[in-house]
């Protein structure tokens, strides 16, 4: 069985190649949707089974898969190596499992699309890249996956590239990711510099990195890795691409922009946590940035009318929660939230896809994603509505659904991080507030979509999606319900907290985390109060919002607007981040490009090239006269050359 593990990596690549090339070459293959869908799903399903086998038979020793030496130069030797340890396996379960469900869902969702084969080829390629990212044994293979998921994200956001806006959204995502990737590259250089001072071979493997003391550059490495993570995982300042990335097909939003790719930054930081442990300043930066991101995104989500935009900002906000956990040194908690979030957010996105699918088929609605034209859909789409509700309750933190446990653990980590009233206590309050906002906007979007009066033109009724789309919804909803029990609070008993004490503890050793636990242990009463408070806040908020919206319907939005007053405009304008970047970065660069660079282009770059070509042409005009075409002239010149050579040989 162990010898089959390379297939985890290779099968998705094979699937991408077969489907992509087959679709390019053969129109008959292109039309065969069933074959393409089954093939693509199998190419993720088999790796999922393999990962599951490895997961359940895992013996505590990490499994290494060494394929071949990739590059070798000096004391650097990069191997195409993968590792299956607790963290990789958990991420692998999420990626291949959720990935498989979303492949299944896409068979129904993408039915009849022109680029059906292309979509599945990209999707398989994405799984390949993501597997590289999470299973890579060294930083370079990880980076290959890192870039690969960025590429696939670009390809899939711009999947319907004939729409200019979608193509631009893809470009925006790519450029924002490139900024983070650049930071990642510099971090890699610094790491290599740090490791290279030792004489032995450098393989840039994670085990090598986390056991090395980088001295003064630790801070910079940690900061750069975090900046890289803000790019991929959509944190301030680079989060602006994620809401726009909703231009892609909805399964893509669920897979890439909610469950897997956007969590790669969290994975990376958890993987390299000893470096962050050694630089508390960076942890403080992370926690502040994360809290800002979470609260700003939550406020923005309240004022959005596009169902996918709400979910996108919700994702940004939840990613902020994960980074808050990282910032508190609770890496395991962050991974726990990655897992639960993957379940309920994928379910939410797929549910929204199901809704959009239904609205699109009605043809009477201008924008199939606008929640103002929905309402009362649960009657027509019971499966979608119920699963959406379950996930909404999960993300809102209703006890005992999965979101409650992971979010509560994050908040507890923040609260117990230090003694007395310090930065982390402020962050804790912000986190609590954000959790309340989360419950509010998620209940709002669910109420406006599935409950209340029907606001769509009613000559044609929406219909439930086919089973191939609802089955993944139910599976994900079930996971969203039970996922939290993998990480029950420690105060209920350490052995009940499987994810931390049974599993990830072996790869992630965090001093901060220990301190947090000891703190919490010493103050069990406070902890009980905190848990009860957060559970109560969630329940009350959901209850209040549900009543508020069921009473007022769409008019409730107006009341919210009045409540926030002038601030609502800022929320609706997404806090003007895009405009700010437009003015401060893109605008000046454009000006520079149009005025200075264009001038340089014309007179310096082109000038040099044209000057050279004109000079050569002029010289040619002079010397072409030698080519008289007269044989006797040529012979004369040849003879002259012979005589000169002879003279040189004899007298020289």
């Amino acid at each position: 069985m162990t010898s089959l593990y390379p297939l985890i990596i290779l099968l998705p690549l094979l699937g991408a190649m077969v489907i992509g090339l087959g679709g390019l070459m053969s129109p008959a293959f292109r039309k065969n949707e069933g074959l393409i869908g089954a093939l693509a799903t199998a190419m993720v399903g088999i790796p999922f089974l393999l990962v599951a086998y490895a997961f359940f038979t895992f013996g505590g020793e990490k499994i290494s898969i060494e394929l071949f030496t990739w590059m070798q130069a000096g004391n650097l030797e990069i191997g195409f190596n993968y590792q299956l340890d607790e963290l990789s396996l958990l991420m692998g379960m999420i990626v291949t499992g959720v990935g498989m469900l979303i492949h299944l869902y896409s068979i129904g969702y993408m039915h009849g699309d022109q680029g059906y084969y292309k979509f599945f080829a990209y999707l398989n390629l994405f799984i390949f890249a993501m597997n590289n990212l999470i299973l890579g044994d060294n930083l370079v293979v990880m980076f290959l996956g890192w870039e690969g998921v960025g590429l696939c994200s670009y390809l899939l956001i711009g999947f319907w590239y004939s729409d200019m806006l979608k193509a631009e959204a893809a470009q925006k995502a790519f450029v924002a990711n490139r900024i983070g990737d650049f930071a990642m590259l510099i971090a890699m250089f610094l790491i290599y510099q740090g490791l290279g001072s030792a004489t032995e071979m450098v393989s840039l493997s994670f085990s090598e990195i986390i056991h090395h003391d980088f001295g003064d550059s630790t801070f910079w490495i940690a900061l750069l890795v975090f900046i890289a993570a803000t790019g991929k995982s959509a944190q301030i300042p680079l989060f602006v691409w994620l809401p726009d990335a909703m231009a892609g097909p909805t399964p893509v939003s669920a897979l890439i922009h909610a469950a897997t790719m956007v969590t790669s930054g969290i994975y990376l930081i958890a993987r390299m946590h000893p470096i962050f442990e050694a630089s508390p300043e960076v942890l403080a930066i992370i926690v502040v940035v994360a809290a800002l991101t979470a609260v700003i995104a939550a406020f923005t989500a309240i004022a959005q009318h596009d169902i996918k935009k709400v979910l996108a900002y919700s994702t940004v906000s939840q990613l902020g929660f994960m980074f808050m956990a990282l910032g508190a040194g609770a890496y395991i908690t962050a991974i726990f939230h990655v897992m639960t979030h993957a379940f309920f957010k994928a379910c939410l996105f797929l549910g929204s896809g199901s809704v959009i699918h239904a609205m699109e088929h009605m043809h009477t609605v201008d924008d199939p994603q606008d929640i103002r034209t929905m309402g009362g859909l649960r009657k027509y789409m019971p499966s979608t509505g119920t699963t959406f509700w379950i996930s909404t309750l999960a993300i809102s933190g209703i006890i005992p659904l999965s979101g409650f446990f992971s979010k509560d653990e994050i908040l507890a980590s923040l609260f117990f991080f230090g003694e007395g009233f310090d930065l982390y206590k402020v962050i804790y309050i912000v986190g609590m507030f954000t959790a309340m906002l989360t419950a509010f906007y998620m209940t709002r979007v669910t109420m406006l979509t599935f409950e209340g009066e029907e606001r769509f033109p009613d000559e044609k009724k929406p219909h439930e999606s086919p089973a191939i789309m609802t089955i993944p919804l139910w599976v994900l909803a079930a996971l969203a319900v039970v996922g939290g029990f993998l990480g029950l609070p420690v105060f209920l008993g350490e052995e009940l907290n499987w994810i931390g004490h049974g599993w990830l503890e072996h790869v992630i050793h965090s001093e901060h985390h220990h301190a947090i636990h000891e703190h919490a242990h010493a103050n069990e009463t406070i902890e009980y109060i905190l848990v009860a408070a957060s559970a109560l806040i969630a329940i009350l908020t959901v209850f209040f919002t549900r009543n508020f919206y069921s009473k007022n319907g769409l008019a409730a939005d107006e009341k919210v607007k009045n409540f926030f007053g002038g601030f609502y405009k800022t929320m609706e304008g997404k806090f003007y981040f895009d405009e700010f970047y437009q003015r401060t970065i893109i605008g000046p660069f454009k000006w520079l490009g149009e005025n200075v660079i264009a001038w340089c282009e014309e007179y310096i770059v082109d000038g040099v090239v044209k000057g050279i070509s004109d000079g050569v042409a002029n010289i040619g005009d002079v010397f072409k006269r030698l080519q008289s075409g007269l044989v006797s002239n040529y012979i004369l010149i040849i003879s002259l050359g012979v005589i000169l050579m002879l003279t040189f040989l004899i007298f020289g």
Binding site: R625, Q627, S628, G629, L630, V631, S632, I635, S639
Partner: protein, 114 residues
């Protein structure tokens, strides 16, 4: 009259003068056939020098070599054969040229001019 007795140097001098005259002819004449004949003259001059060297080495002799200087003579033989082949092809080219242009003045043939 001792200085008139031919030695290798006198033979070579004759060959050199003939070669130079052939080269001058190639460079100055315009009639294609005469240019061609000048080339034949140059070849013959070279042949003469080869025979001279051949004889020179034969007279000097060499240990264990059955026919010293034989290579020179054999080379002349092959040069003659190649020259014959070359003359045939060259003359047919001249005929083809004449047929196209009714003129074999090589100074009028300048299709390779820029």
């Amino acid at each position: 009259m001792e200085f008139l007795t031919p030695n290798a140097y006198t033979y070579l001098s004759v060959a050199i003068v003939m070669f130079a005259l052939g080269a001058i002819g190639v460079m100055t004449r315009r009639n294609g056939i005469i240019v061609f004949m000048c080339i034949e003259l140059m070849l013959n001059a070279v042949n003469l020098s080869l025979i001279t060297f051949s004889k020179m080495h034969a007279v000097a002799g060499a240990e264990g070599v059955p026919h010293p200087g034989a290579n020179g003579s054999m080379l002349v033989f092959f040069v003659m054969c190649v020259a014959a082949a070359e003359a045939v092809v060259g003359l047919s080219i001249i005929i083809a040229l004449f047929r196209n242009r009714l003129d074999i003045d090589i100074n009028n043939v300048n299709i390779f001019k820029w």
